[in-house]
């Protein structure tokens, strides 16, 4: 598999995948059950979803390991199975996609706050990510995707852990921002400029934003990143924010809507696009067409 950084250097846009949670629920994930538990009980589901996204045209396929760090698994009494849970997630995606796409190993927040705001020390957090990422790398992940971070210190610790364990592995790091009256900030008060600088300094290869917003707000966030980041920028938006329709919860942005707006992301120079919560293989298929068209027009 070509190093994703090489691909980024040679130009063009890379397409990520969409949400996993909804697809997991449709296939039997019960309310309250941690998604990562399925890595042990039903790995064939992971293969199926990975295949759906591959067929939709995604080039980056995410592993079901967002909550797979030991501190997160501890809440479900699964900490002792950290190794198995993370290894099996990578293996399942690899079985499904071979080397037709990159295995992007997801690393989400620990769910803990660093001192003095919470009770966690930087050493504990670092060890937490080191243990998870060590397994992901050993199992053959193509890149580490630190995502949905609010605290820059925590994100930087995860990136540093990845860098220390596997100096050569590509690391993508994305944070979740709010649209506030004074600009885009994470709930911990990190601006896009600070995120871009801090993540690069920690050793990330790709920076950006995922989750928390629909695609329209993400365009504004992308603009900020392009202003402040020297590294390639990745943007993975939700299909809007969930609304209730006929008593059921739905994400309102259609594949067509997302695809039409995504053109603006590409025009801004965003290099990796994909989806987060609420996006489906149909969204990714629609984005595939946009990315392909953009590639053609860039050549012309």
């Amino acid at each position: 598999m070509e190093d994703i950084r090489e691909r980024l250097r040679s130009g063009g846009v890379i397409l990520g995948d969409g949400a996993w949670g909804t697809l997991l629920m449709q296939r039997g994930l019960k309310p309250g059950e941690p998604p990562e538990a399925l890595n042990l009980s039903r790995p064939e589901i992971l293969e199926e979803i990975a295949t759906l996204y591959l067929e939709a045209g995604a080039e980056l396929i995410t592993t079901n390991t967002f909550g797979g760090s030991p501190l997160r698994l501890r809440a479900h009494a699964l900490e002792g199975r950290t190794e198995e849970i993370n290894r099996r997630a990578v293996e399942a995606v690899r079985r499904a996609i071979g080397d037709r796409a990159w295995v992007s190993a997801s690393v989400g927040p620990s769910g803990r706050l660093l001192k003095p705001y919470g009770d966690c020390t930087p050493e504990e957090l670092y060890a937490n990510f080191e243990r998870q990422i060590g397994v992901l790398v050993a199992a053959g992940a193509d890149l580490i995707c630190v995502e949905t971070m609010s605290d820059l210190s925590e994100a930087a610790l995860a990136v540093r852990a990845a860098r220390a364990i596997a100096p050569a592995i590509p690391v993508m790091a994305t944070m979740t921002f709010e649209d506030t009256p004074r600009g885009y900030y994470t709930v911990m008060g990190v601006s896009v400029a600070k995120a871009a600088a801090g993540l690069e300094e920690a050793g990330a290869d790709i920076v950006g934003s995922n989750c928390g917003n629909g695609i329209e707000t993400m365009i504004g966030i992308a603009r900020e990143f392009r202003k402040h980041a020297r590294l390639p920028v990745a943007i993975q938006a939700n299909a809007g924010l969930p609304v209730t329709r006929d008593g059921a919860l739905v994400y309102p942005e259609s594949p067509e809507f997302v695809a039409a707006k995504a053109v603006e992301l590409l025009d801004l120079g965003v290099r990796i696009v994909g989806g987060c919560c609420g996006t489906t293989p149909d969204h990714i298929r629609a984005l595939r067409a946009v990315v392909d068209k953009h590639r053609e027009s860039a050549r012309a």
């Binding site: 949670g21 629920m25 994930l29 309310p31 309250g32 059950e33 941690p34 909550g67 997160r72 809440a75 769910g111 706050l113 003095p116 705001y117 919470g118 609010s150 709010e178 506030t180 009256p181 004074r182 900030y185 994470t186 709930v187 911990m188 008060g189 969930p242 609304v243 209730t244 008593g247 919860l249 919560c277």
Partner: protein, 210 residues
């Protein structure tokens, strides 16, 4: 600056030791404990809540201010109890079953305490029965539920239904919040109230039980 104003501004700055010292000083000056609480600590916390709502400050500042609030409450609590100053009421809060997110829920707890409510925090991943059992055991008239995820939200409906099934409607009211939740959803599941943020949660709880 008068000492209550100093308490309030020091709390805003998250200076926990200074807040405690100032509260001790105010007590020594024989200022009424309720006044220290209301014009000092709660006044400061209200400013913090409003600034956070407008995102003039962020979570770290709120957490530090809350810590200062606790520090100031320490010497004050025994005096308040001694004088028999009633707390506003009790609220049971928690993140619903399957949901481990607690930043929003903690914030609501902090703001409720700041506003003078007694808060029983059940933590995260709280099962529907536990919410209702705790509200009964604690004689709390309000259950506050938080969910960040669309996947865990249905547990809120279960709590509302459980309250009905046990014939407790009217006696125990429900308020919900969290990233995935909306006023429409609260209406759809029959919850008594929805709060967009922690400041609104305090307001709604006051409306419900005062």
């Amino acid at each position: 600056m008068d000492i209550l104003k100093l308490i309030s501004t020091s709390l805003e700055q998250g200076e926990d030791e200074r807040v405690r010292d100032l509260v001790l000083e105010a007590i020594a000056q024989e200022i009424a404990p309720a006044e220290i609480l209301n014009a000092g600590l709660i006044a400061g916390m209200n400013v913090v809540g409003e600034k956070f709502r407008l995102r003039e400050i962020f979570l770290p500042e709120v957490l530090l201010a809350a810590r200062a609030m606790y520090a100031g409450m320490e010497p004050l609590k025994p005096l308040l109890v001694q004088e028999g100053i009633p707390v506003l009421g009790k609220v049971v809060i928690g993140s619903v079953r399957g949901d481990l997110h607690d930043i929003g829920k903690n914030l609501v707890g902090i703001m409720l305490r700041g506003a003078g409510f007694e808060v029983v925090d059940l933590g995260t991943d709280v099962h529907p029965e536990r919410f209702v059992d705790a509200a009964l055991a604690e004689q709390a008239p309000v259950i506050g539920m938080s969910a960040l995820l669309t996947t865990t939200m249905p547990a809120m409906k279960e709590v509302v239904e459980l309250i009905r099934a046990r014939g407790l409607q009217g006696r125990i009211k429900t308020i919900i919040g969290g990233a995935a939740v909306s006023a429409e959803y609260a209406g759809a599941i029959g919850a008594d109230a929805y709060a967009f943020d922690a400041a609104k949660a305090v307001q709604r709880v006051k409306e419900m039980i005062l």
